[in-house]
């Protein structure tokens, strides 16, 4: 299940934030925000995607650049929000 979520998130990032010709490798640890792949302004659409896909609400104060900085940190965030 966790692997499915990782794959879903990796595929989403590749589709939405990388050029189709890009040879950038995205793993669950790739730095998305601090690595300049996902601009912090783009976080709101990523947040919306996560809320819709996983049927949870992510409080604004938890939607930080650090929380969105990798697929793994996003999964931790999802777990936290699911428990709320």
């Amino acid at each position: 299940m966790a692997e499915d979520i990782k794959k879903l998130l990796v595929d989403y990032v590749k589709k939405e934030y990388l050029d189709e010709d890009s040879d950038q490798v995205i793993t669950e640890d790739t730095k998305l925000i601090s690595g300049g792949i996902v601009d912090s302004f783009s976080m709101v659409s990523l947040k919306l995607f996560l809320e819709k896909k996983f049927k949870i609400k992510i409080p604004d104060e938890k939607a930080t650049p650090e929380a969105f900085d990798s697929v793994n940190s996003i999964i931790n965030l999802l777990r936290e929000c699911a428990a709320l």
């Binding site: 050029d19 925000i33 912090s40 302004f41 709101v44 995607f49």
Partner: protein
């Protein structure tokens, strides 16, 4: 002791010749910015001084001395000449904040080209529009962004050359050239292009309310203002380590991320990474940054993280902090003094002004929330919006006006004389910003006089966003306004009336957001979309953005007599 000394004394004795003479502008025929940023520093015996320390997001570090800067910028200039490019050609730089961006900028100036740096997060449409308007002849880019360039190339008949600075082994298309700076031969001597003080140097695109973004054209003598404002506002001294967080795709990143610091012979550091409080503090600690020029949005993001990450790093190197891009709120000034032991000094200027025009200065009393006072040599005032006469009553809000003629004032909007002429009224340059001046001469920002959205310190034009929205298959009509945001000051909010057959949904919201982000930029992406049945319009059919904006800001909606009735 600060470089400016006493602000009041400087007001009395200042003239721009002080700056020209300090750098020898015009001496021995030297007018080219590229010379002053590299060769002159080497001629002064500082060739071995570090000009640039660059750190990538993985932590790898590169260092370049002024001699490296001189030789590598010569290499770029030689390569560009070799391709057939000529003085006056617009040459775009479209890459992340890698050393090649900074060094090629100097190289373009040295061969007499007009440097046109563009924000690397621009989508295809935003990029295409700016290259088409400028009839750009060449673009320097990287493999990461090459796909975008290739997809729009056929629509740009003037674009003769695409230079990839990290080409590697991948095959290139016709008229594409791979040029790897550190592998190319160092060029120790070139004939730097002979330019005059009024020769065009840099073209920066900026957004307005109506129409497409406009290219603000600057000239080589802008360095006279950029040099002295760097010295006095940023207070850069010989041994300082300076960090300007702005991207050179925007004017701050060229005026104060390249020209100002290098003309002053300063070591500057660059972090090529997205925002992270921990990463930023670690960077300051590692490189012992002494002077930090950043944006209120970033400061507010740091505030949001609190004092804990500050306490985990030794930031004692910080000596002077300055902010730019949007008004710095009082809370941020007060917080920064608690966090770093010294306050951020707000500075105000625009793409069109080319350099800082109103600021807080070292040693001068800061009034938290105030823009400060006009730079010596600048005549700044607030004007009656109807008569364009200076307002003499303290505290009365008017349009910020500047007396034309300072060295870095833009000389044109590219190909748009009418709009340029419209920026000057009654002998004043009209900034488009509203402010008041208090009894002590401090300026207090109120807001824009037009519909331009200032998000995270960057101006975004509603027309450009609305035009792009109309290209989405679901959108019948749209209006883009700024809505208040505690971090970014404003963010884009779009009001959309859908075409028949489309229903509002989260999926559609995300689709439209991503559509705009990819077409234009993350800055232009609406952070909120509200689906409406109709937009408020005048009887002549013009969308009344100000009504929508006023509602978002909780303001009076004003005169609705021209509103089309239901």
């Amino acid at each position: 002791m600060s470089n400016i000394g006493t602000y009041e004394a400087r007001l009395k004795d200042f003239n721009w010749n002080m700056s020209s003479e300090a750098i020898g502008y015009g001496k021995d025929g030297h007018h080219n910015i590229g010379y002053f940023c590299s060769d002159r520093i080497c001629e002064m015996g500082h060739g071995e001084k570090v000009a640039l320390v660059w750190e990538g997001f993985t932590g790898d570090v590169k260092r370049f001395t002024y001699d490296d800067l001189r030789a590598y910028s010569n290499s770029f200039a030689t390569m560009l000449r070799y391709t057939g490019l000529r003085p006056g050609d617009r040459i775009c730089i479209f890459m992340d904040r890698i050393p090649e961006l900074y060094i090629s900028f100097v190289g373009i100036l040295k061969m007499g080209g007009i440097a046109q740096p563009l924000y690397s997060a621009f989508g295809e449409e935003a990029l295409q529009m700016r290259l088409e308007d400028a009839k750009t002849r060449a673009i320097l880019t990287t493999r990461k962004h090459l796909g975008k360039v290739r997809r729009i190339r056929s629509s740009l008949p003037e674009l003769a050359h695409v230079v990839i600075v990290d080409a590697g082994d991948k095959p290139l298309e016709p008229s594409e050239l791979g040029f790897v700076m550190e592998k190319a031969p160092r060029v120790d001597k070139i004939e730097i292009a002979e330019v005059g003080p009024e020769t065009p140097s840099v073209l920066h695109y900026t957004s307005g309310t109506t129409g497409k973004p406009k290219g603000a054209l600057h000239v080589h003598s802008s360095i006279v203002a950029q040099y002295i404002t760097t010295k006095w506002v940023l207070d850069l001294h010989t041994d300082d380590i300076y960090w300007c967080t702005a991207d050179p795709g925007w004017v701050t990143g060229t005026s104060y991320g390249i020209i100002g610091p290098w003309a002053n012979g300063i070591t500057q550091v660059v972090l090529d990474a997205g925002f992270s409080a921990h990463k930023w503090y670690a960077f300051i600690e590692k490189h012992k940054v002494t002077v930090w020029y950043s944006a209120p949005t970033a400061i507010r993001l740091l505030m949001k993280e609190g004092f804990d990450p500050v306490s985990r790093h030794n930031l004692s190197s910080l000596r002077h902090l300055v902010s730019v891009g949007e008004p710095l709120n009082a809370e941020a000034v007060i917080w920064s003094e608690k966090a770093f032991g010294r306050p951020f000094h707000d500075s105000y200027w625009q793409t069109e002004t080319g350099s800082i025009v109103i600021s807080n200065y070292p040693g001068m009393k800061i009034k938290p929330g105030s823009m400060g006072k006009s730079f010596p040599g600048m005549t700044a005032t607030v004007l009656n919006p109807k008569t364009f006469e200076p307002i003499t009553t303290a505290g009365t809000v008017g349009l910020i006006g500047l007396k034309p003629g300072w060295p870095s004032m833009f000389r044109a909007y590219w190909n748009n004389q009418q709009t340029y002429d419209g920026k000057f009224k009654n002998g004043w340059y009209i900034s488009g910003d509203r402010s008041s001046i208090d009894s002590e001469g401090y300026f207090w920002f109120v807001g824009r006089d037009d519909d331009v959205i200032n998000t995270a310190g960057h101006l975004v034009g509603p027309f450009e966003i609305e035009s792009a929205l109309l290209e989405h298959p679901s959108v019948a009509e749209s209006a883009a306004v700024g809505k208040p945001d505690p971090i970014n000051m404003e963010v884009v909010k779009a009001f959309i009336a859908l075409k028949p057959g489309f229903d509002k949904s989260d999926d559609l919201t995300m689709d439209i957001m991503n559509f705009i982000r990819k077409k234009l930029s993350p800055l232009a992406m609406p952070q909120e979309i509200e689906f409406v049945t109709a937009l408020p319009k005048t009887r002549s059919g013009k969308i009344m953005r100000r009504l929508l904006r006023a509602k978002e800001w909780g303001e009076e909606i004003g005169d609705t007599s021209t509103l089309e009735s239901d």
